[in-house]
């Protein structure tokens, strides 16, 4: 690395005062032009030469003056001829006028820190999509996002991977403010030493953000297994510092998420999450989230998760009257919990997507179609009659439970005939409910359909009795 002893230079030369301001101006002028020269005649010590030329210039005036001057003229000439910024904005081809600069017209595919990521020019334009989670000052043009996605898809599919976007709260973990910890669950922070190992190793008291976080049972196995099939993102409505803390708890080795942690401030629309800030093709993305409404545009990619409520404040927040898991000193079952069952679903979808028997072009496959197909298998073979569920004024096909059951592959009937398997009812006194009992059909509460949606299999009917 070149070290210039400019203090001696300033002392010798009458032109430059040693005042720091003037000196800085001198430095700027000399080196800015030097760097422009470098674009023409790339050279490591160019700046140094330039400064020395200047020194000679003011001295006895040897031959280097001319070379220095001609260099500067050349710079001006080139700068005049090639102004890529203006020619781009007019959409005309760049005028290279024989200069070796050969700057092809740069469309400025992305901007970081106010500079184009491809040509290094200063760019003021604020268009495109911000990708603050990759770099705080990064914006990418739509074309560039499309290009990256296309490139990424090829790469991913070659490695037999898809993309998985994971929500944090209630999906992978549950957090509470320390201040909201109830008396009944205060043992979690006061008697840490006596907690069972499985609980203690997944419970974190984060004093610096005043939170306590409990990871969902099975989450470590889930992430490890899923990471071999998917490139994973975190996408939370929480704020960035919180998201990064959680990422550390889930991924202490930093091998699952890298810079793919998206927080609230990264969304392009308020109160919504969007795949527009995910650098992956939508046809290859699956989402795990406990909240459907935030994914307005991407419901087809969504696998809805049963909410994990460990702390009391979490139950209260969602209006649940029952005791929290923490108060019951209990937890979700590790082997049969939501993450274990959804992992099986993910593995199955992955298998079907990459099925070698499929004859179609892999680039044209759509994981949303596969998800739809797999979902349709859940209640396949079930023929349902609703009674006391759908209000009379409501078009049955538009009712929530009808639509949900249909998505899960069930078929419907209005009469309890031979082919009907299930009568879904809120009231065991209706005529059809009695008929179901008489004719030995399953009589279940509509929550049975919701459970099927979360469990990804037909839940045991006896767990969903219908009371009067």
């Amino acid at each position: 690395m070149a070290v210039l002893h400019l203090s001696s230079l300033t002392a010798d030369s009458p032109v430059h005062s040693s005042s720091s301001d003037e000196f800085a101006a001198f430095l700027d002028a000399e080196l800015d032009s030097a760097s422009d020269v470098d674009e023409v005649e790339s050279g490591e010590a160019e700046g140094e030469e330039e400064v020395e030329d200047e020194d000679n210039d003011t001295g006895d005036g040897d031959g280097s003056i001319d070379s220095s001057r001609s260099k500067k003229r050349k710079i001006e000439l080139i700068e005049g001829a090639v102004d890529p910024q203006s020619s781009v904005s007019r959409g005309e081809p760049a005028e290279t006028s024989g200069a070796s600069m050969a700057l092809d017209v740069c469309t400025h595919p992305g901007v970081m820190g106010g500079m184009c990521i491809r040509c290094g020019q200063k760019v003021e334009d604020e268009s495109g999509v911000a990708f603050g989670y990759i770099h705080k000052n990064l914006r990418l043009a739509d074309d560039e996002v499309a290009r990256l996605r296309e490139k990424d898809l090829k790469n991913l599919l070659r490695h037999r991977k898809l993309i998985l976007v994971l929500d944090l709260d209630h999906t992978l973990l549950n957090s509470t403010r320390l201040a909201d910890i109830s008396a009944e669950e205060s043992y979690l922070k006061d008697q840490r030493e006596v907690l069972p190992d499985a609980l203690r190793s997944n419970l974190f008291k984060l004093d610096w953000i005043h939170m306590m976080t409990k990871l969902r049972p099975f989450v470590h196995t889930f992430l490890k297994e899923a990471s071999s099939l998917f490139e994973m993102y975190i996408y939370t409505m929480g704020e960035r510092p919180y998201a990064l803390e959680m990422a550390k708890l889930l991924d202490p080795g930093g091998i699952y998420f890298h810079s793919r942690v998206i927080a609230q401030s990264d969304s392009t629309r308020r109160h919504q999450k969007g795949l527009d800030v995910v650098l992956g093709q939508e046809s290859a993305v699956l989402i795990l989230d406990d909240t459907e409404v935030v994914w307005g545009k991407h419901r087809e990619n969504l696998i809805l998760m049963d909410r994990y409520h460990f702390f009391t404040s979490s139950c209260r927040q969602f209006g649940l009257k029952c005791k929290s898991l923490s108060e019951q000193k209990s937890d979700e079952n590790e082997a049969e919990g939501a993450l274990a069952s959804v992992l099986e679903v993910l593995q199955r979808i992955h298998r079907l997507f990459f099925d070698p028997e499929r004859g179609d072009n892999i680039m044209e496959r759509d994981v949303r179609q596969v998800l739809k197909t797999v979902r349709k298998e859940i209640l396949k073979g079930c023929k349902i009659v609703f009674t006391g569920v759908i209000p009379i004024q409501c078009q049955p096909e538009n009712h929530y439970y009808w639509k949900l059951a249909e998505k899960l592959g069930a078929t419907f009937s209005t009469e309890v005939d031979e082919s009907v398997t299930h009568v879904v009812s809120m009231n065991d006194k209706t005529e059809k409910s009695r008929q179901a009992v008489r004719e030995k059909k399953f009589l279940v509460h509509p929550r049975w359909i919701e459970a099927a949606n979360y469990l990804w299999r037909k839940p045991p009917e006896e767990n969903f009795p219908v009371s009067s």
Binding site: S7, S20, S35, E44, G114, M115, I117, S259
Partner: protein, 177 residues
Amino acid sequence: MFFHIVLERNMQLHPRHFGRDLREKLVSKLMKDVEGTCSGRHGFIVAITGIESVGKGLIRDGTGFVTFPVKYQCVVFRPFKGEILEAVVTMVNKMGFFAEAGPVQIFVSNHLIPDDMEFQSGDVPNYTTSDGSVKIQKESEVRLKIIGTRVDATEIFCIGTIKDDFLGVISDPGTNA
């Protein structure tokens, strides 16, 4: 690029420091105040190497503080467009990679990574040639050329390229370790 330059700063000193080691106090405060800071004009002040002069102190009315104009020599680091730097890779993603050369952060986008290097995701994301002979990952040392610089009060950020002759990986942490 490093420069050895003379800068000037007005140093305010509390009267309690007035004594035999006044000069020493001034110097240590100066070091604390300016080393590691950044200015848009000069770049990053790496180290103070000497004191040129300490001017006459000016007593502030009321407080008793005295302001001394201090001229000092220091080594500054400022990257320039066209400069070649050696840097250590800090993060790799599908957009490109980030690297650091001392206090300077540099981003090299995948537009400016040779076309034969492909992004590989996984536990250690990297850019690798198809034959696997060259790999850029976290901790790799690369030689790159600066094509754009932005100097703020606290940081210097650059756009760089390795898509040119004699640029690219110098050492690969995988093979050295």
